[in-house]
Symmetry: C2
Subunit: 197 residues, 2 copies
């Protein structure tokens, strides 16, 4: 798969593409997509604006690349966290904690997934939506494995949980007493107890 074509060559060691992606993720997460200019990104990595077009054909493609990295970051973290637990509710809680950590603390890339909506960039909205679904699939499986009361609706439970998780970005206070872990526990506990009613 990684065999290069005869006309291709290995990237140079001083390639600054990673720095460009980091800066784009940070700026997109902070200001949003439309409010971030290519000049902002170029300046952040000490480049000229036009140079960005060596790596990306358009601003939208830069966003897609950030989105892809974001999905990898958040999905891997959630999956790894869930893998350390056995019991279905514990697995879900661990994944939620990992999700919150990524979005609230660790990764600008993960933040972009929540901050920038597919409809913000019509030209690539379809691709962005597909990436989003990909990262939501982890939760679909985790919720699917829960031992729920017959009447319970898994879909509503999942969407309620994801909504709570993603919206927490707008009120979470890093200086406060609440941590991603404590928050995940409380959210999941609320839903878990509703099954014992």
């Amino acid at each position: 798969m990684t065999a290069k074509l005869s006309t291709a060559r290995a990237p140079r060691a001083d390639n600054r593409l990673p720095a460009v992606l980091d800066a784009a993720a940070r700026l997109f997460a902070g200001r949003g997509y439309s409010a971030t200019s290519m000049r902002d990104i170029a300046e952040a990595v000490d480049m000229l604006p036009g140079s960005l077009y060596y790596h990306f054909a358009a601003k939208e493609d830069l966003l897609v690349a950030v989105y892809e990295a974001g999905v990898r970051a958040i999905a891997d973290a959630a999956q790894a966290a869930a893998g350390r637990e056995k019991e279905p509710w514990a697995r879900l809680e661990a994944a939620c904690a990992a999700h919150l950590e990524a979005v609230l603390q660790r990764s600008d890339y993960a933040q972009v997934l929540i901050r920038v909506l597919p409809q913000d960039v019509p030209a690539v909205a379809v691709r962005l939506r597909a990436l989003r679904r990909q990262y939501e699939r982890v939760f679909r499986e985790l919720v699917g494995a829960l031992p729920l009361a017959a009447r319970a609706e898994r879909k509503v439970l999942r969407l309620m949980l994801l909504g709570a998780l993603n919206w927490s970005r707008f009120w979470f206070d890093p200086e406060g007493s609440e941590t991603p872990k404590s928050l995940a526990r409380k959210f999941v506990t609320l839903l878990k107890e509703s099954q014992n009613a």
Copy 2:
């Protein structure tokens, strides 16, 4: 209170300010703030771009006006709906249904509250945040009146519910079988049952 100053005069009957606000709300809700230009808004109401500045000193002030109308619309609807019920959980559920109806179906103004974040417009972020808190106060009171188990954390419950409500905008399908009312019932029921564990 409405006594006009000697130098003031009643607005003209053909005042198009309402139309401007409607168009701005619709465009802000659909594309976001940065992606909507003053020219877009002017064209939507068949005006020249510069004419908008008779009503608003800056684009940001237009957003603030839309935000204010949005808070009124959504808070009034929620409060009126809650007023028709007696039991605390029923009051909360009614308010949630009204909130969802406003955001998902009825009002472009209400959508802007969720679509455009205070941090999107630093120049007026403080004012936008204050308006947001104003509309969240309704839920603070409704959740405060719930008969909860001693161990329960009202704040977490409230934020979880608000997160679920607001995030629903991103997956709700108007053509689907779910309605704002049915969704509100399911969300609130999940939280309510957790108190009987």
